[in-house]
Structure formats: structure tokens, C-alpha cells
């Protein structure tokens, strides 16, 4: 496990000149390392975006505020991966899917703590977080879904 580090050793957020946490993917994952699912709310139109973006996909505003999202959602679609990319080979077969979060956005991820044959569209899911963070880029703490 030399290639991983614990949450306590996770790195700082990337901030602007005023110390504000920038609405970027790196910071989204830094929040995940703290066990928080964060998105941004556009100050211009109220659109909630997860992952965060610098420019609102709805009104093109760059004014934002971070909002903590509810970790609940429902499974919209999924698949079972039998032939995975190299680094996931030990996990196969595994399920991945897209959850529609109660706050609106879709989020994709792995579905864990469930028997593959018990996965159904519409099932309630909860977001949880891995506790280890890779040492090298990208140092992103993965979130995943589990049955609520």
C-alpha cells in the first residue's frame, strides 16, 4: 500500500487569489477525500452542477457557490463490466451505473455492497467514499454508490 495515503494526509484545496475554493474537479475530489459530495450552484441562474465547472452550462455565468449535495439518488441505468481496463481487473465482474441525485445532477460510478443480480433500475443509492487516495496524479479519492 505504499502508493496510497490516508485522508489525514490529503492535500489542500486549490484556491483563487482571495482564498476562495475554485470550482474545479480537483477540489470536487478533495471534498470527496473529506467524505463530502459537493457541487456548485450558479449564482446567475441557480443551476446545480456536479461535477463543478468554471462556466455555467445553462447561463454561462462564472459566479458560483459551493453547495453540499444530499448523498441520495436513484439508479437510472447501469451495466456489469466483465472485461475491464487493467487497473480494475481484480474487481471484475463489477457494476457501474448512473445515479440521478435527489438534488438533480446525474453522477456515474461503481455500485458496491450489492449482489449484481439484485441491481434494478430505480433502486435508491447512497454515495460513499473510498478512504485511500493515490499518491501519484491523479490524487482523487473515489466515491462510489451502495444501496441506500
Amino acid at each position: 500500500m505504499s502508493k496510497t495515503m490516508t485522508r489525514e494526509a490529503s492535500k489542500d484545496f486549490v484556491r483563487d487569489a482571495h482564498g476562495e475554493i475554485l470550482p474545479i474537479i480537483e477540489n470536487f475530489y478533495s471534498y470527496c477525500a473529506e467524505g463530502k459530495l459537493m457541487g456548485i450552484k450558479c449564482v446567475g441562474c441557480g443551476q446545480i452542477m456536479c461535477p463543478p465547472r468554471a462556466i455555467c452550462r445553462n447561463c454561462l455565468s462564472d459566479k458560483y457557490e459551493w453547495v453540499e449535495l444530499k448523498e441520495r439518488g436513484k439508479l437510472v441505468t447501469y451495466t456489469i463490466i466483465y472485461f475491464p481496463p487493467t487497473q480494475f481487473q481484480l474487481l471484475a465482474p463489477y457494476a457501474v451505473g448512473i445515479s440521478k441525485l435527489d438534488d438533480g445532477p446525474h453522477l456515474p460510478g461503481m455500485i458496491k455492497n450489492v449482489k449484481l443480480e439484485e441491481i434494478t433500475i430505480g433502486m435508491p443509492l447512497r454515495v460513499d467514499y473510498e478512504t485511500v487516495i493515490p499518491k501519484d496524479w491523479p490524487r482523487w479519492a473515489r466515491y462510489f454508490f451502495k444501496p441506500a
Partner: protein
């Protein structure tokens, strides 16, 4: 409908496992065929530029391929352009080439595409293809490309009742057609049972729902319509061209049973050509996975939304049906050397509209269509063709 440009010749390499041949050699094979098929063309005198689509430098550890391919087909020092649009790379090259002709910059160009894949392991290819999906939210969570189309298939099955048997029938049809194409990777028929019992890749997609990894190249000689007859008595005119984009990642869309980029590209192309889906006599569509062909039927207007499964059940897209689709064998049987696919689709339509398609010839075809998507249909390109003789 005044044509945008005319195809006066076309060439394609044999698709498949081309051991020891790399992209420059495959591209040379396709270009030589296109040159040889057009005796009135003096490539060095007439061809003004090269446009080429290739997806990835990773397969051969080779970037900056536009001057390389240009040199290997003997056309130095003309300008050469390379485009990348994942699996739609050479369709984007085609559009770039069309713009160059429509603007008056060039009157004759060569446009093509190539990919060399089979020297890389299946796992390696899976990873290189995955680069066309979103890294931080798809690749990072173990979502492979078959996985993305698997999620689209599950959505379509849940929403419309599409079945695994209907998906399998797409593969069976395209293998039927591929068996008639001497350039196809697979020239062997398969059965629904063989598809259904093949190894699972990303449920509900099984190995035979997925296109193979292939080596190959394809190209077209395009001219301004006003000079096409100098080169051939039987040109094929491109009368509609459309392109649209969608989010790179699947999850950021509202509906996973659509390919909006393909639908919007088709609308542009139909409007420009002044024809409707009912006018199309033969089509080549993007069947990287069987579900993608079902979705293409719906987005191109060959059937209503949700009825793609029914259309394949009715056999209407088989040779002899109302609208034969993928007479070449499609990506599934002809093969999908990623960058080569767009112009390979155009190559098949060129053969069909010039009565050169041999055993898979569609009788009396006047209008053809190609639909090529990149990634999870983040890029969609549609072209419409008409006999020019």
C-alpha cells in the same frame, strides 16, 4: 440540391489483422487503389491537399501523421491536415475537406482515415479507446467503452422493451452482409444463438455485440462538382453534410437512449440535401456495438423513437429490405479501424451508387447516407450522397 463536392474515386485496404503493416502502409494501400481506379487523375498534378482522420497516437507511438501519410502516397509538399474525432475522425476529415472545396481553396483533394490496432492487446486497445471517454468521471470509475454503450442498451431495454435477441439480430445481419464483402474483417455468418452465448463484455453486450479491433485504411478522391466529369463518368455527389456535438461524458445527458448529436447532424444533412429518410436507398451507420445501430435507426428517422428493435425484427434493414443498412458488414463484420471508419462508410456508399458493390449491390439505389459517431456520440456526422451520372 446543388452538390457540395463529388467523389470521383475511392480506395480501401483489406480490413482485418494486417500483421506487420503499419498505418502508413495501410494508408498507401487505400490511396493506391483510389489512384488506380481513376486513370484520368494525375495525383501529383491534380490533388491539392490531404485530409486524414486518425484517432490515437498511442497504438504506434506515432504522432504528426499528416505529413507522413502525404509523403508515403507521393504527394509532398502539398498541405496535409489531420483531424481527430474519436471513431468519427475521418468523417470530420471529410467535412473539413468539403469546406476546402466549397470555399474554392482546392478543387481536388484526397480524404481518408486509418488506424493500426491489432498489434496491441485487447486490454491495451480497451484502454486506448477509453481515452475518448471522460477521464475523471468515466475512466476513473472503471467505466469502459463497452460499459458506456452497455448503459445505453440497458436504458433502451428498460424504456422501450428492446431485447437481447434484437441486439443480436443486428450482429447477425451485419455478418450476413460482411460475408459478401471481400474486404471485410469477418466474412463469416453467425447465428443469434452464437451471439447470445458469446462471452459477456458489458451486460447486456456480449462479445458478438461488439465490433472487433481491426487494421485498415480508406480514402476518397473529392473534387469540385463542376470538374468531376473530367475524372469519371460516374461520380457520386455529396449533397448534404451535418455535424453536431454532445457532452463527452454520457452521464451529463438527460436521456441515455438517444444520440442527439447524430439526430441533429442528420437533420442538417437532410435539410441541405432536400430529401427525407424515406428517400434513402442504402445507409452505412455506426454499429460499434449493436445497440448503436438500433439507436441510429431511430435518430436517422428510419423508424420512430423506441422502435429500432422492431425494425430489425422486420428484416427491413437486411439486404433486400426496404432500407438496407451496413451492406459492407458495418463496423461489426467489416471491422472498425477507428480512424478509417468514416471514409470507409463513404467508400461503401460510393460502390453502391456506382453499381460496383458486387454480390451486396442494392438495386436502383439513387440516394445513400452515412452516419458516424465519435465516442458515446459526443461527435455525430451524417453525409448524404446521390448518384451523379
Amino acid at each position: 440540391m446543388s452538390p457540395i463536392a463529388s467523389i470521383v474515386s475511392a480506395g480501401i485496404s483489406k480490413f482485418g489483422v494486417r500483421e506487420g503493416l503499419y498505418s502508413r502502409e495501410l494508408f498507401s494501400e487505400a490511396a493506391k487503389e483510389a489512384f488506380d481506379n481513376c486513370p484520368n487523375l494525375d495525383p501529383r498534378r491534380d490533388v491539392k491537399a490531404l485530409f486524414v482522420g486518425m484517432m490515437s497516437e498511442s497504438y504506434e507511438h506515432q504522432a504528426h501523421v499528416a505529413p507522413l501519410f502525404l509523403d508515403w502516397i507521393g504527394l509532398l509538399p502539398k498541405p496535409a491536415f489531420r483531424t481527430e474525432g474519436a471513431c468519427a475522425s475521418s468523417s470530420v476529415a471529410m467535412r473539413t475537406a468539403l469546406f476546402s472545396i466549397a470555399s474554392g481553396a482546392y478543387d481536388v483533394v484526397i480524404v481518408g482515415g486509418v488506424e493500426k490496432m491489432t498489434h496491441v492487446s485487447m486490454t491495451g486497445v480497451t484502454e486506448i479507446l477509453a481515452m475518448a471517454s471522460d477521464f475523471p468521471f468515466e475512466q476513473w470509475h472503471g467505466i469502459s467503452f463497452p460499459g458506456i454503450f452497455g448503459m445505453m442498451a440497458v436504458d433502451h431495454m428498460h424504456r422501450y422493451g428492446t431485447t437481447e435477441e434484437q441486439l443480436a439480430k443486428v450482429a447477425v445481419k451485419n455478418h450476413d452482409h460482411g460475408a459478401l464483402n471481400p474486404k471485410a474483417h469477418f466474412q463469416k455468418r453467425i447465428t443469434v444463438d452464437e451471439v447470445l452465448s458469446s462471452k459477456p463484455v458489458a451486460w447486456p453486450l456480449k462479445l458478438y455485440d461488439c465490433c472487433p479491433r481491426s487494421d485498415g485504411a480508406s480514402c476518397l478522391i473529392l473534387t469540385s462538382p463542376r470538374i468531376a466529369k473530367k475524372f469519371t463518368d460516374t461520380p457520386v455527389n455529396i449533397i448534404g453534410s451535418g455535424q453536431a456535438q454532445d457532452t463527452l461524458s454520457l452521464f451529463e445527458r438527460d436521456n441515455f437512449s438517444t444520440m442527439k448529436a447524430a439526430r441533429l447532424a442528420a437533420k442538417q444533412a437532410y435539410d441541405q440535401a432536400g430529401i427525407t429518410p424515406a428517400d434513402v436507398d442504402v445507409a452505412e451507420v455506426h454499429d460499434c456495438f449493436t445497440i448503436a445501430e438500433i439507436l441510429a435507426y431511430e435518430e436517422l428517422g428510419f423508424c420512430k423513437t423506441g422502435e429500432g428493435g422492431k425494425l430489425i425484427d422486420e428484416g427491413q434493414t437486411h439486404l433486400g429490405g426496404k432500407i438496407p443498412v451496413n451492406t459492407s458488414g458495418g463496423l461489426k463484420a467489416k471491422g472498425h479501424p477507428v480512424g478509417a471508419t468514416g471514409t470507409a462508410q463513404a467508400h461503401e456508399i460510393y460502390l453502391q451508387l456506382t453499381n460496383q458493390a458486387g454480390k451486396r449491390q442494392v438495386a436502383n439505389a439513387d440516394f445513400g447516407l452515412t452516419e458516424n459517431v465519435g465516442g458515446s456520440a459526443s461527435t455525430g456526422v451524417v453525409h448524404i450522397y446521390q448518384r451523379g451520372d
